[in-house]
Amino acid sequence: MTRVLITGAGAVSGLGAGVEAMWRGLCAAPGDPPRRAADPGARMALPLIHRAPAEEGPGGRTTRLALMAAREAVADAGLDGAHLARGAVVMGTGGGDADLWERPLDPDRTEAPAFTVASAVAAALGAGGGATCVSNACSAGGFGLAMALDMIRAGEADVVVAGGAEAYSRVALGCFNRMRAVDPYACRPFHRDRAGTVFGEGAAVLVLESAGHARRRGVRRHYAELAGSGWSCDAHHLTAPDPEGAQIRRAMTQALADAGVGADAVGCVVPHGTGTRLNDVVESEALGAVFGERLGRLPLYSLKALIGHTAGAAGALGAVAAALVLDRRTVPPNVPLGADQDPECPVHLPQGGTVPLTGRHVMVNAFAFGGNNVSLVLEGRTA
């Protein structure tokens, strides 16, 4: 089977713009609280958000975040126009450019299609191999990467610029408020008092490339290999996970099988972990079923505690974090939970300092409304 390498990465989130800013933020674990959205139309009890530093310019905010990450990833990979002309783009986003399709408070603003994120990235990069916008809600970025993996394996493209992006959406936040799914303090995955999630803005893009193509153009270094993915659908409830967790277990085991490794090869997991009460328990139990007695000592890196739940970008930002963990052989410290960790979530969240990575694989989970589940397995370099 064709090996698929991560030869470039780009990211923007509440930690700042750029992959290095992200890594510094992960290692510092500042745990800054969310802020109230600067939106006079946000008439809701908890208009909380972790904002990302989107560049000014034309187009919707999600697209601008996506372009920042995509340009960084392409430059990082050293791709030129000829490579990109045959390359494809897959971008995950839950709501697209929500600021362009939600009701305009500015009467002079024109309305525009919402889901042009992928095509805008393709146009900006000069990528001719197709532009797919996948909107599997909070798993969209993970599915974007997984689809790109399958595209390369199927021989449809040698290079795919793939990831996810999400910006503030007044309607999404309003609906989460109405569903009592927003934590009033912070995004606190696996915390005993967690009361919901807190959204964050962000984008993450990876350059995925067949090993043969990378070799032919002289790539000397890659972050990691995207070794496998597993997909499933709960088909249980529109918003709540199946409490049995059967389908998220299947996504994880299928991803391991697709990568050709056993659970014991995994040295770190970037969980979906949103801070929603039931979701974190179900994911903890599913992780326990997959990793067995190792659960209590397998390091988890709980990214959303730091940057909020970036929805359609979450799986892709998780994949960037995983690629960096493998690249630097280091698991960053989690935002401290201490004695406040929920005993119903007996996962291992290293705190207080970095820990060395053991093992060559990192798993990333991304689950969503609609029961859409995807797990990714990344494999580190051999030397």
């Binding site: 009701r103 990528a127 996948v134 007044r170 569903m179 529109l238 609609g370 029961g371 859409n372």
Partner: protein, 318 residues
């Protein structure tokens, strides 16, 4: 022809243009309001009050497609059922109404029963709940192309072993009244059931094969793309481009020129606001015996999708 090749074994359509795939009236514009749709007749008297129109259409089209396929999706384990849906404006009016509530009386006045549908993937998620689609579920949203793209993404997932049976389609609902493109709104849904030829019990309608690309970057590779798409297939007699008039859209002109080089004459019809119209044409093409035909659509942002539809043969051609 291989036993793994996907064939279309069921077609479900609900549209103001008709519900019989072979008899769809695809000329001109039709009202995109909800009056044409009889929810009780399609879905039953209860349980769908808070389900948005585009989801009702998708549910109804799926039921029709599954029944048309002889119920074959239900014959495989739930984990072997996959679904890919294209939609662009499926929840636009819903979002608009929610936004009026949030910016007006406030989010507390949102309906908790409707709130989950702010997320566009819940349209397909609701169908998954009704039909036990546990293999996987994709919602694609690029303007105009996402319906045809769903065929490609779905077939790729099946080829990768992610499911055995595929439900692929498109659903749309009317844009808000004040939206500048409201007059071009679409309403309705198309769903196809696709399964490997080797396991298809129902007589298949035919096959379809899709490529996507972005112009202008892909223009130098267009011939290569067409050669790959048409490989090992009978040459299509004609093509239909769902695209802006060629004088206004260089994308349509570029595509039409490329098809001419391959000896395929192309007609052009104007696009609608969503992703549905190309799928309605595909449903009608597959619904009638006939020669292979290319169906394409382009979006002003450069995205293009091209599907080779191969209906079952005309009797005098077999």
């Amino acid at each position: 022809m291989s036993a793994n090749e996907l064939v279309v074994t069921g077609i479900g359509v609900v549209s103001p243009r008709g519900c019989d795939p072979a008899a769809l009236d695809l000329e001109g514009a039709v009202p995109a309001d909800d009056a044409w749709f009889d929810v009780a007749a399609e879905l039953g008297p209860r349980g769908y009050k808070y389900v948005p129109p585009s989801c009702r259409y998708l549910l109804a089209a799926t039921r029709r497609a599954v029944a048309d396929a002889g119920g074959s999706p239900a014959a495989v384990p739930e984990a072997e059922r996959g679904m890919a849906v294209g939609t662009n404006s499926g929840i636009a009016a819903l979002i608009d109404g929610m936004d009026a509530t949030v910016t007006g009386p406030g989010a507390e006045r949102l309906s908790p029963a409707t709130a989950p549908y702010f997320s566009i993937n819940t349209l397909a998620g609701r169908v998954a709940m009704d039909h036990g689609v546990k293999g996987w579920n994709l919602t694609l949203t690029s303007p105009r192309t996402a319906g045809l793209e769903a065929l490609l993404a779905g077939a790729r997932a099946v080829a990768a072993g992610r499911s055995t049976v595929l439900l692929a389609g498109s659903t749309e609902a009317a844009l808000p009244d004040h939206h500048p493109a409201h007059a071009a709104s679409e309403a309705g849904a198309v769903v196809l059931v696709l399964e490997p030829r080797g396991r298809a019990a129902a007589a298949p309608y035919g096959t379809c094969r899709t490529a996507v690309f972005s112009l202008p970057a892909a223009e130098p590779q267009l011939d290569e793309i067409l050669i790959r798409l048409l490989k090992d297939a009978p040459a299509p007699d004609s093509a239909l481009l769902v695209t802006d008039a060629t004088d206004a859209s260089p994308l349509g002109a570029v595509l039409a020129d490329a098809l001419r080089r391959f000896g395929v004459p192309a007609d052009t019809v104007p696009p609608a606001a969503g992703t549905l119209l190309p799928m309605l044409h595909l449903a009608r093409t597959l619904g009638r015996p006939g020669p292979p035909r290319l169906l394409a659509t382009t979006s002003p942002d450069g995205a293009c999708a091209l599907t080779l539809a191969r209906p079952r043969h005309l009797p005098d051609r077999t």
